[in-house]
């Protein structure tokens, strides 16, 4: 799920970097000091999630968690994802530093979309929150895979084939992520519902 170095053309790399930096700067504006610990925990969860490999038949998939990060952190999710991906590319060699912009957009935009969606439909009951969390989780992974296909298209691949491949490879991830998001959100709603509220300054 990470784009490696040298896959994308230089113009796309630079453009995505510019967009990512702008998004991160904008995201910084929404960060309130009292939210910092929550963002730190969300970032480290996102950072570590890609190490959790779930065995699936002959291969294994790993969690992505853009949906849950977006639902929990709101606009600050973009910053969180940028930091998480930066450290992943430094420490785990996931993706490359030149493709960091594209990777951050690939994860950050779904996170923002899912966060907004989650806040719009979550309502005030446990059931509606759980369903909203599940939707956010599934949609986040789906959007990320679609964006991946889109970015690969710019590098000259056959768009439909790659898009199908990326989506097919992520169907199990989408299902697992939906379940995990539903469980996590319902748990947080029961234990500490104020974590799900966005505080914007």
């Amino acid at each position: 799920m990470h784009i490696s170095d040298g896959v994308l053309p230089t113009t796309i790399s630079l453009a995505t970097y510019a967009l990512t930096l702008a998004g991160t700067a904008l995201s910084l504006k929404f960060v309130r000091p009292e939210e910092l610990p929550k963002i730190a925990v969300g970032t480290s969860a996102f950072f570590v999630a890609s190490l959790i490999h779930l065995p699936l038949g002959p291969t294994s998939v790993h969690l992505l968690l853009p949906g849950i990060v977006g639902a929990l952190l709101g606009p600050a999710a973009f910053l969180s994802i940028f930091i998480g991906l930066f450290l992943q590319s430094l420490l785990f060699q996931f993706g490359g530093l030149t493709a960091l912009g594209a990777n951050a957009l690939m994860m950050g935009v779904p996170a923002l979309v899912c966060g907004l969606l989650f806040q719009l439909i979550r309502g005030s009951s446990l059931l509606s929150n759980t369903i909203a969390g599940a939707l956010a989780g599934g949609l986040g992974t789906f959007l990320a895979a679609s964006l991946l296909a889109g970015f690969l298209f710019t590098s000259g691949e056959d768009f439909l084939g790659v898009a199908k491949l990326a989506l097919a490879a992520h169907i199990p991830v989408i299902i697992i992520e939906t379940a995990i998001s539903a469980f996590t959100i319902s748990f947080i709603y029961r234990v500490k519902p104020e974590l799900l509220k966005w505080k914007q300054g």
Binding site: P33, L36, P37, L51, I83, L91, F92, Q93
Partner: protein
């Protein structure tokens, strides 16, 4: 005095070839076995055959073993390339440290005059 290694090799080979039992030399064999010479040749052919089959079997087994070892090495390489617990811990430490500094700066900005 330096003894050149290249000069040893032919001597060594010559010694080895003398040491090998040659069927043509009669004085090597006891006279009682002279009569059964043809059967010995047949037996040697049988021996060659069995040695050949054993060698082939051994070769096959060895190459199978080697394939398994190569597979193991590939798997090991892959698992070595995967990041482990230390890298994850380092990353979490970076994230918490970064946000800790941010929180510190934010608290300083909030009340810049407090010095404790």
């Amino acid at each position: 005095m330096k003894f050149p290694l290249r000069s040893i090799v032919p001597i060594f080979i010559a010694v080895l070839s003398f040491a090998q039992p040659s069927p043509g030399k009669a004085e090597d064999h006891p006279p009682a076995r002279e009569a059964s010479k043809p059967t010995t040749i047949i037996c040697e052919e049988c021996c060659c055959q069995t040695v050949l089959t054993t060698l082939e079997a051994q070769n096959k087994r060895l190459s199978e073993d080697l394939r398994g070892i190569k597979r193991d090495i590939a798997a090991l390489n892959q698992s070595l390339a995967e990041p482990g617990i230390p890298a994850a811990m380092a990353g979490i430490g970076y994230i918490f440290g970064l946000f800790g500094v941010a929180a510190y700066m934010a608290s300083r900005r909030k009340n810049p005059n407090s010095r404790n």
